[in-house]
């Protein structure tokens, strides 16, 4: 059953509550315009809020995202919808768009939830925690993560056994299983697409053994192991809970590889791997960290210095292409690789391997537009019609793109891009008033 609701109009619709969408929302709202920010997940903050520390300054990601998400959630000009998806956008005329928004039930009244976690304790279900990239479990009644915004519980209805234990203990009666999907029609004058990116799924490269060998993990999983809200008490390998002491990074996993359909460079993997290597050296002073790379792309402000700093700390950089990874009985991994320096094939043993997975397009936004075509570039990112001078412009007038929805980029570039998209959107609103 879907209830239909008509709600008031907004000046700008921003799709995606990650760092780019959030930044754009704040910029536009601060100029006095009404913004509707739509996030499909339970919390805003995107991928960044789940990171440990960020290069090249090693600020904790939370220190940068939490004040922003907090500002977003209380901004008088921003209406925030989480657990929502835009199902279609019709362009009626020049600066008039109509969007249909589907709000999935959270089964919790956000305003009433105090995040006391009693429901979490009471819930008898345990399933893999997607916010910890499946390294530990979570309950079916759960708060996504400790710095989530809104910080409120949610019910994972797919895994819920409807025992009712959560609502019995809830002190504010905020759990409500009668909630249903809702649909909204919204009128807006401009749209910003900040739908972000998808991480490469290393299951598509069976030769690295991800999924099969438990000690082959993705960089996002390592990111969680290093974060303050980490799944384990320290860095552990998932196969047997051992503290690793010989960790390898495989760069360009799913990037610069036409054979898996992604010929471009993901722009961030070198740097986040170098950052993780520095954090690992700090967390496990006795550990060896080796980074297998093709080229190190430390191109941004302060990046080259950061790379040199990692070398100085003793991180081992090996110019080499990984052919195959195999597992030993004790869970250690044998990396067969072409050592480019020595021009021969070699093998090395590590007790944990981190796949530095690349950035892929999120194609969610492409299906939205019914009346106009949202063009994509050859790599399926949102096409920039004037990529040199107006990078935020898309093939639809009045629809702008920000952040990684148009291609791989790091956090500073995403934030600048969001500033750029908000400038275009504000100009568009002023010019079409």
């Amino acid at each position: 059953m879907i209830s239909k609701q008509k709600i008031t109009s907004f000046d700008a619709l921003i799709i995606g509550g990650g760092i780019a969408g959030g930044e754009a929302a704040l910029n536009i709202a601060n100029t006095g315009y009404k913004v509707l920010l739509i996030e499909k997940d339970l919390s805003i903050g995107g991928k960044m809020i789940l990171l440990s520390k960020v290069f090249p300054t090693l600020d904790c990601a939370a220190c940068i995202t939490t004040p922003k998400v907090s500002e977003i959630s209380r901004h008088p000009n921003i209406t925030l919808f989480t657990s929502c998806e835009v199902s279609k956008i019709n362009k009626i005329d020049e600066n008039n768009f109509e969007a249909t928004i589907i709000k999935k039930p959270r089964y919790v009244v956000i305003e009433d939830c105090t995040a006391c976690q009693l429901c979490e304790q009471a819930c008898p279900v345990s399933v893999p925690d997607e916010y910890q990239f499946n390294l530990v479990g979570r309950k079916a009644a759960f708060i996504p993560f400790s710095i989530a915004s809104p910080k409120a519980a949610a019910i994972d209805i797919e895994n819920c056994i409807l025992c009712g234990a959560c609502e019995k203990v809830c002190p504010t009666n905020c759990i409500d299983f009668t909630q249903d999907t809702e649909e909204y029609q919204v009128h807006i004058n401009t749209v910003i697409l900040a739908t972000g990116f998808k991480l490469f799924d290393p299951l598509l490269m069976p030769r690295y053994g991800y999924g099969l060998y438990k000690n082959v993990i993705t960089s996002m999983q390592m990111e969680r192991e290093l974060a303050p809200t980490r799944p384990f008490n320290t860095i552990l390998r998932p196969s047997d809970g051992k503290v690793p002491d010989k960790i390898a990074y495989v760069l360009c996993t799913g990037s610069r590889d036409a054979s898996i359909g992604n010929p471009i460079c993901s722009q961030i993997c070198c740097m986040y791997s170098i950052k993780q290597s520095q954090l690992l050296m700090g967390a496990l002073p006795m550990a060896d960290v080796t980074i297998y790379y093709i080229n190190i792309r430390s191109f941004g402000k302060g990046f080259e210095e950061f790379y040199q700093q990692a070398k100085g700390m003793g991180v081992n950089f090996v110019k080499g292409k990984i052919g195959k990874i195999s597992e030993k009985e004790n869970g250690n991994l044998i990396l067969r690789y072409e050592d480019i320096n020595e021009n021969r094939v070699k093998e090395a043993e590590h007790d944990m391997v981190v796949l530095s997975v690349g950035v892929l397009p999120n194609q969610d936004a492409t299906k939205l537009f019914k009346t106009d075509e949202l063009k994509l570039d050859p790599y399926k990112f949102i096409h920039q019609v004037d990529s040199l001078l107006s990078p935020a412009k898309t093939s639809i007038d009045g629809v702008f793109v920000a952040g990684t929805a148009s291609g791989p980029m790091d956090i500073p570039d995403s934030i600048l891009f969001a500033g750029s998209a908000s400038s275009e959107a504000i100009s568009y609103l002023i010019q079409h008033k």
């Binding site: 100029t31 610069r256 010929p263 941004g300 480019i340 750029s420």
Partner: protein
Amino acid sequence: MKKKIGVYICHCGGNISDYVDVEKVRQAIENEEGVSLAKTTIFACSDSNQKDMVADINTNQLDGVVVASCSPKLHLITFRNVCERANLNKYNYVHANIREQVSWAHSDDKLGATEKAIHIVKAAIAKVRYAESLEPNKIVAQKAVAIIGGGVAGMKAAIALSDKDCPVYLIEREFFIGGRVAQWDTMFTTNETGKEVVTKLYNNLILRPNVTIFTGAEVIKNVGSIGDFKLKVKIAPRYIKDKCKEGNLQKAIDACPVVLPDEFNFNITTRKAIYHNFPSEYPQSPVIDIKNCTRCGKCEQICENIDFSQKEEILDINVGSVLMATGFDPYTPKDGEFGYNEVDNVVTLPQFKRMIELSDKKLLFKEKEVKNIAYIYCVGSRQAEGENTYCSRYCCTSAIHSSLLVKKKFANIYNYHFTRGIRTYGKQEVLYAESSQQGDIYMQSYEDALPIVSRINDKTIVKINDILTGGKEITVEADLIVLVTGMVPRADNSVGALFKLPKGRDNFFNEIHMKLRPVETFIDGVTISGACQGPKNIMESANSALSAATKSYSYISKGILETEPIVAVVDKNACSWCNSCSEACPFDAISKIEIGEKTIASINNAVCKGCGMCLPVCPTDAIDLIAYSSKEIESMIDSLI
């Protein structure tokens, strides 16, 4: 004196708590005089903690708040806002820096770090005890922005601001608009030429009544600050009358006997003392290079539009914000650096780009046809010995793009790339793939053994030990060597000094925080964009220019700006007017007034910038700065010992 102070000590998710025993700090300060609440928190800046703080302030009627966390440059404003939301005047908030100046600085000494954190929090408590509620000064913001630099970044920012109905002054030092991009031929990714891009922007700009463009113009003085910058702009004459017709001017140019290296073409060609940059340049009027003009009068005889009586003008402009877009200089190699200026056929990448554009049919260098081209990468970047340790970001892509272009335009070209690892990040990677597929040869040098350029028997040879072939020594005979030079800050960046803009370790202008405040500077009201902040390609420059425009606009869009109410105050009883303070004040904020029998100093709050220069010169110690009074500073000192 405050009686109900709330203190929050932040773990910063380990950044602090890994080195500072935050619980010990909490215990050490919870019984300090006036402290009624002392908590630790994993992330003080998180939404949930901010909400808790608001609730704490309300339920406990706190009258002062201290958060001990990261540097105040990051989150002072965050926590001031928390206080405001709890209806506590934000000046009752004091920030203690126990991350940058404690946990990180003393990560080698946990006991020492904890001890220091305790003292620093105590000092913050001492300061907050004396804190007073204050109202910010409100000033009228001039609704106009000065953009310094008329390159792509400056022009984009000008359009963005003009679109927002904000008047713009675009101030370009050169006589022609367009900056570095005007000098480029086709560009990745769109294959538009630099000229096309500049033309597009210029044609858009000149239609706008709220944009004023100055060329040959330099800011020579700046007085004032955010909301009200008063700039003096010096405009050099072109010595050509407005609205002149081309016809005779070209003859005048032809007649000019002075021949000079043409900087627009990076000195690979020459120009006259009366000159154009290129036929479709903007503004479409030549200029006389008066420094090199011999005043022979030949041009005047031919063309009636020459006017040597034109004088330099000084204009006063008044703006609310200044947006810097002054760009970069290409690195100039030192004599002998990879054969530069010593071996004949060594050019820089910018020179090479001009050569490609200016050559027709055959690529000639000093009359000889060029076939083998060697590119040496990272010249002036990633220097192990030298001041530029950074990567210049754009040059790998730019060099590869040029190498593809030269191959397309001319026959029989062979490209040899002497790299230090190609950095065609993102979608630029496809260029590198295309170049490799076309048979370009890529080699990579060891970090400690860069390629060597030498001249042997009239031949120019590049030698490398190539990583990609297992360290094999490879030599290439090259007709032309292209030094892939990076970006460096403008040699003459004096306009930055005029605004006191801080520079980073790389000597480019520095932002406050790369992620939180990426286009703002420590100088309120001045934003930075484009390559003056660090190497960027055109798309990145456009993004940062638009970001900076958004920020500059936000300062002035409301017409009213709030500034810190931190001003000097005079103790009427102690003051006996001696003029010392007024002499010390750099802003003329102090004058004398008569109160009854007595003459004392009076501070003009609207003009006082709160520097405190008047404080130490007062013989009777009659002046204090709000929030930095002697009682506050001295009680902080008492707590620190």
